[in-house]
Symmetry: C2
Subunit: 351 residues, 2 copies
DNA sequence: ATTTAGCACTCATATGTATTGAGTGCTAAG
DNA sequence: CTTAGCACTCAATACATATGAGTGCTAAAT
């Protein structure tokens, strides 16, 4: 049964029930609908309609003498067809704009801050995925001497990401010599993808470096680590304590299990997986999500872009009874602003 | 009244009550003490002793018909005089040693991992303070060209910490010229403390750089940021969901408030403040802590060192009814291992 | 053919009441 | 000084009852 096959009145009743339920978290009765929907019919009429809506699977009844609650199918229809655009509040606009103009220079800190603000504005916990840069290549490598046993390895990728690391060598090496090793390594590795440094290249480098091949090991190790961290980026959770403001999470044991589940990086990535490669806003409702643990939760996810390709995700997680339209607008506005900001930050390539 | 002024029997009774209460979380009655303490006296005798111990302030009674519960003073006596050393389990030793040998190269990730493991082993939430490096000076500065409008700024401190940042300039600058600017900046700033770059030095640099003084602004900005992050380092919270396993935190609203309180970086730093500059293990019990919010919590904190001075803290937070002896041993063993590891990592200075 | 007033019925929730039992302090005997 | 005995306290638990929001169904009204 498609939602549009229902008559106008049923749809208005469904929408009214969903919106009321989202607001109050209490099952909605026929009397309340009669008053709030503005249809001008009595509660008895609404009752008949509600019984039909339940039969068709749009509503559910927790127990005989309770009001109705939207089903997952009902929420889906609401999100796809019924919900009307939410107007952002002045606070939403102000806080988002303040963030966008704060010009935090470090990308990671900026995203942490983004997650914190989204959680604050929406009132739900947020999940923020750091940029996932598949297929980055090495733009430059530098080895900078600190003393004769230590050097700083600097790695810049074609995406403009930088990694550094202090490396220690078991044998001493003079700064001037390190300089030469550095430019040699740079020449050989520049342009190669982070993931695809073949044994042949390594072999060749070892031969070229000769006596100083001992500096190679930490270099390759760092490249491997960088590749790893770009391929499977961290997902940061923030504002998880906000769950407790929601009546759905009054059960301590269930909520504890849920939070424990969300501690794991792998789990977090899976939570966000439906938004991977999906541009714009993605919403999963309850058991639509492949993860069993999210049976009773909904996730609203938005991509952000670096340059022109989507590289990361900012999301909000909560009960299926979520403020879909409000959060949708908030995430939409926020990610659009963020995209704009990031496009400036990465900047027009000049070559 | 000093704890050592009590007779042996009273002390044994007090210790038995505290240990039983820590284990069970239920007020301890005279009968249980008579059986567990192994004193071979009847519960009536114990009752008389307990009444006195309460009068003297070592015990408290939640209500007339309940058993006794240790007072803050009681816990303090336990921690200072009564508690016996806890033997670490094989699991504790294994996990700690595995961590110490995992050789995570990045210091920050290593500390994150440390906090996670301490939380797992102890069963309480952990707070981990990143290294606080007061009075660091600049060891070297490098500006490495990426393209004509971008360069990577690399900052190494005398403590061997590295910061980098991509900087954009509004005017183009040729790599060769940037190279010269770089060595000029390095010469002028090298050796200066991060916090104390005087306006005079800045003025002088501006004059020396002449047409290229526009690269100076991001450089100084990064130094300010680095100084800031070293002076007031981040404190990472982990395993907060473990609070829910403790009966003390069954009250959702109180726990929510507590968790919200712990979200704030400033609050976290204050939580750890009693351990600042205090070598070894520090314990605060309930209202001993200056923070009102910790009235009902205890904190066990251990320093870790970089080189030979304490720079950071690993701590565990929980109810006053905490496994003081177990956690004490766990943190002690862990931080000692960590210190050993870090002393190798920083290495013997060679100049 | 719809709509609606009326009414009996359901059932989660709240409130009130009785029961239970762990633990106490006190007294008097050992 | 120790302990058996006992009356007393009070949180926790269980149970019974009342309340009321909401329902489905029927029959009359539109």
């Amino acid at each position: 049964m498609k939602i549009m096959d229902l008559n106008e009145r049923k749809r208005r009743i469904l929408a009214a029930i969903i919106e009321t339920y989202i607001e109050t978290a209490d099952p909605v009765g026929s009397k309340a609908v009669a008053e709030l929907s503005g249809l001008g019919v009595s509660s008895a009429t609404i009752r008949n309609e509600m019984a039909e809506l339940e039969e068709l699977g749009w509503l559910e009844q927790p127990h005989t003498s309770a009001g109705r609650v939207p089903s997952a199918q009902g929420y889906r229809a609401y999100v796809d067809y019924l919900m009307r655009r939410h107007r952002l509040t002045d606070l939403d606009l102000m806080r988002t704009n303040a963030f966008l103009h704060s010009r935090v220079s470090e990308l990671e800190r900026m995203l942490d801050e983004a997650g914190r603000i989204i959680s604050e504005l929406t009132g739900y916990p947020s999940l923020t995925m750091r940029p996932q840069l598949r297929g980055s290549a090495i733009r430059r490598i530098d080895l900078l001497p600190v003393d004769r046993h230590q050097f700083v390895l600097l790695l810049v990728t074609t995406d403009g990401m930088v990694k550094n690391r202090i490396c220690r060598t078991w044998a001493p090496i003079e700064p001037a010599l390190l300089q030469e090793v550095s430019s040699l390594v740079d020449r050989r590795l520049c342009g190669l993808p982070l993931t695809g440094i073949s044994p042949a290249v390594v072999e060749e480098l070892h031969r070229a470096l000769d006596d100083f091949s001992f500096v190679l090991e930490p270099v390759l190790q760092t490249i491997r680590e960088a590749a790893e961290s770009f391929e499977t980026p961290e997902v940061v959770l923030d504002g998880e304590q906000r769950l407790f403001d929601l009546p759905e999470y009054r059960d301590l044991d269930k909520t504890r299990d849920f939070l424990t589940f969300l501690q794991d990086q792998g789990a977090r990535r899976q939570v966000l997986s439906p938004a991977q490669g999906h541009d714009g806003i993605t919403i999963t409702i309850g058991s639509e999500h492949p993860l069993e643990e999210l049976r009773e939760s909904s996730v609203i996810m938005g991509n952000y872009k670096l340059g022109d390709r989507p590289v990361g995700i900012i999301a909000v997680i909560g009960p299926t009874r979520m403020h879909y339209n409000r959060v949708f607008s908030q995430i939409e506005y926020f990610t659009q602003g963020l995209n704009h900001l990031l496009s400036q930050l990465v900047g027009p390539k000049e070559e």
